[in-house]
């Protein structure tokens, strides 16, 4: 094969080979659980075989050799001369070597020598040879599960990033054009800008779609990890994955993967008890570890829960007190949260986890993605972590409003209606102000008071009525401006501490505009005292 030919096909080879190894891992893991399920066996066999033949075309002889030895082991398993449990570890090790070899090849290095491992596999076979001589039999063909095969081309992430940035710049130009259109007021220009605007939105939406990666991309690495960790520590863990088809922007995948990996390691190392301890506690010997992703409108939520020993609040409290992280008499929630502040209750550091910094890093990472993490735990019953990650880089439609010369944005999907209400119609009730509108009373607040800025006394007040579930709230503003589509950017840390804002957006003039966080506005409304002072006109 010529060099040019070789290089041309290398990338495709690497991608397919990696897919096969992933499938081999998944099938073997299933086979360990249900050794008699022929479907997984055939999947495994086929992947190894295909990997062998494509590697042969590329003359990666070490890979071919190892695949061949793996096939021989699989033959022996099929002929029942060797049990799957007896050779699973060696097989997993072989898969790891294959993966490592691919990484080397990707770096233009030569593949890893597989002699030792091949020898190890052959050894397994010869140990069993006395029992029965393996015979080659043809495979029986049963119904097989359909693999969702993705036909796609590979695009470098950085190219997508460039496209994304360009599309954001397009959006900014479009907003500038929008302003021009208003000043020039030419029907032809208006129509053109409108069409252009629609196309730009479409482009941006589509680029964002392209950047989406399903969470399975992260989840797929965990079954193998859980298996290995559990085995190391003599624990039995059944990992359940849900919602892997939910999609996230590519930029979040790596960080989120690390974070979840950390939580899983923690759960197995500290949360889940050994099989013996579980039996003594009258629990099922096999622990359950659940990873579940769900998607809400603007968030992806991920839950990591185990049915292990739970957090020992007393122990955490005493350690946290010693390290001055807590003050005496702190409520249980605060004690629980101190696990995110870098304390560790384990006596020794294991290879898996236990340095205590883990959870504080997890929290930092999630917050850097604009997300939140919470923990719930019942001693003896288990621990649950709830992670919420905003879908970043989202385009949303907002209404711009003005309060004391500053422009803010309110997401359109929160807005129910816009009203102009005479000042005297805003009635002071017991501890809040309200207006009466058609179907009932709507509490109102002056945003200028909330933000502690100068407010104008007016005869008529523009009010934006926003809704969250069944609750409604009227926001009194100085001026209503236009609506526009904007790209939400996460907030910097300083601004984030001010909970009234969920993000920022760049507008045509190059100015940054803060987007109001409806969740928080409603939440603070419940804290009546704050509200009362805020509403004292």
């Amino acid at each position: 094969m010529t060099d040019a030919f070789f290089n041309k096909h290398k990338d495709v080879f690497l991608k397919e080979a990696a897919d096969h190894i992933e499938r081999m891992n998944a099938s073997l893991m299933q086979l360990e659980k249900t050794p008699n399920d022929g479907r997984f066996f055939q999947d495994l066999f086929r992947s190894v075989h295909t990997l062998k033949s494509i590697a042969a075309v590329m003359t990666y002889n070490q890979i071919v050799k190892l695949c061949h030895a793996i096939e021989d082991i699989l033959d022996a398993i099929r002929n029942k001369t060797i049990s799957i449990h007896h050779c699973a570890d060696a097989l997993f090790k072989s898969f790891d070597l294959l993966s490592a070899s691919l990484k080397e090849i990707a770096k233009n290095e030569s593949e890893i020598n597989a002699d030792d491992l091949e020898q190890e596999l052959r050894q397994l076979l010869s140990e069993r040879k006395e029992n029965k001589t393996p015979t080659v039999s043809s495979q029986k063909n049963g119904p097989l599960p359909a693999h969702a095969k993705l036909e796609s081309i590979e695009v470098k992430v950085e190219r997508l990033d460039t496209l994304m940035k360009l599309s954001e710049e397009l959006l900014v130009s479009r907003i500038k054009l929008d302003l021009l259109r208003e000043t020039i007021n030419n029907p032809e220009l208006t129509a053109t800008v409108d069409t252009l605007g629609r196309h730009i939105t479409d482009i941006q939406y589509n680029i964002m779609q392209v950047r989406l990666v399903s969470i399975d991309f992260i989840f797929d690495r965990f079954p193998r990890m859980v298996r290995d960790l559990a085995k190391q520590q003599n624990k039995q863990v059944n990992l359940q994955l849900e919602g892997g088809d939910i999609e996230l922007d590519r930029s979040l995948i790596d960080e989120l993967g690390e974070t979840l990996g950390h939580l899983i390691r923690n759960a197995i190392d500290h949360g889940i008890e050994t099989t013996d301890a579980r039996m003594k506690a009258n629990k099922r010997p096999e622990a359950t570890l659940v990873l579940k992703a769900t998607r809400a409108k603007e968030f992806v939520s991920i839950e990591v829960s185990d049915d292990g020993a739970g957090l020992d609040l007393q122990k955490i409290e005493s350690v946290a007190l010693k390290q001055n992280i807590l003050t005496p008499g702190a409520p249980p929630d605060e004690i629980k949260s101190s696990i995110f502040k870098g304390i560790s209750t384990t006596k020794h550091v294991t290879t898996v986890s236990g340095r205590g910094l883990g959870l504080s890093i997890v929290k930092q990472k999630i917050e850097s993605m604009g997300g939140t993490i919470e923990v719930r735990s019942v001693i003896g019953r288990g621990t649950q972590f709830f992670i919420k990650i905003p879908l970043t880089l989202a385009v949303i439609k907002v209404l711009f409003i003005k309060i004391s010369d500053h422009i803010y944005a309110i997401p359109i999907n929160n807005i129910e209606r816009l009203l102009t209400v005479p000042a005297e119609d805003i009635q002071g009730l017991l501890n809040y102000n309200a207006i009466v509108y058609e179907d009932g009373e709507i509490p109102v607040t002056h945003l200028s008071h909330l933000f502690a800025v100068k407010s104008q006394l007016m005869q008529n007040y523009p009010i934006v009525v926003v809704r969250r579930g069944k609750e409604r709230l009227g926001l009194v503003v100085d001026t209503l401006l236009s609506t526009q589509e904007v790209v939400i950017k996460p907030l910097t840390k300083v601004v984030k501490e001010n909970k009234y804002f969920s993000g920022s957006a760049l507008i045509g003039s190059g100015e940054m505009v803060l987007i109001l966080d409806m969740d928080h506005l409603f939440l603070s409304r419940r804290k009546k005292n704050e509200w009362k002072t805020a509403n004292a006109v």
Binding site: K8, V12, T50, S53, S138, A146
Partner: protein, 122 residues
């Protein structure tokens, strides 16, 4: 110009075969398909002179055989060469009965592929 349809679920294999076939002196036009549905659609659309068809596909063990059956049913004179692996003797026999002309074992020798293809496209 002669037309060849390559059916294999591995994009890598399709790429390799395409390159190999493109070097053939008859400079055939090459089309590809990754599954049964596309294979049948392509066959209908381009009416290939020759089909190179992989027996084993990840989706289902014998998808290749299924495709062969359908192709031969719809186009009784179509030339099909099966791409097989070592040891699939039983399946190869079945394919011959179903009208496959020839089979090439994977991993294949490029010369063997060219020679084999020459019988049907020159």
């Amino acid at each position: 110009m002669k037309k060849i349809l390559v059916v294999d679920d591995s994009a890598f294999m399709r790429g390799i075969l395409k390159d190999l076939l493109a070097q053939h002196p008859a400079t055939p036009e090459i089309y590809e398909a990754e599954d049964k549905k596309t294979a049948l659609q392509q066959a209908k659309k381009v009416m290939p002179d020759l089909v190179l068809l992989d027996i084993v596909m990840q989706k289902s063990e014998l998808e290749g055989v299924e495709i062969l059956k359908e192709l031969r049913k719809a186009y009784p004179t179509i030339n099909v060469i099966m791409l097989t692996s070592v040891g699939q003797t039983g399946v190869i026999e079945e394919c011959k009965k179903l009208g496959a002309r020839y089979y090439i074992e994977k991993p294949f020798d490029p010369d063997n592929v060219r020679e084999c293809v020459s019988k049907y496209i020159t």
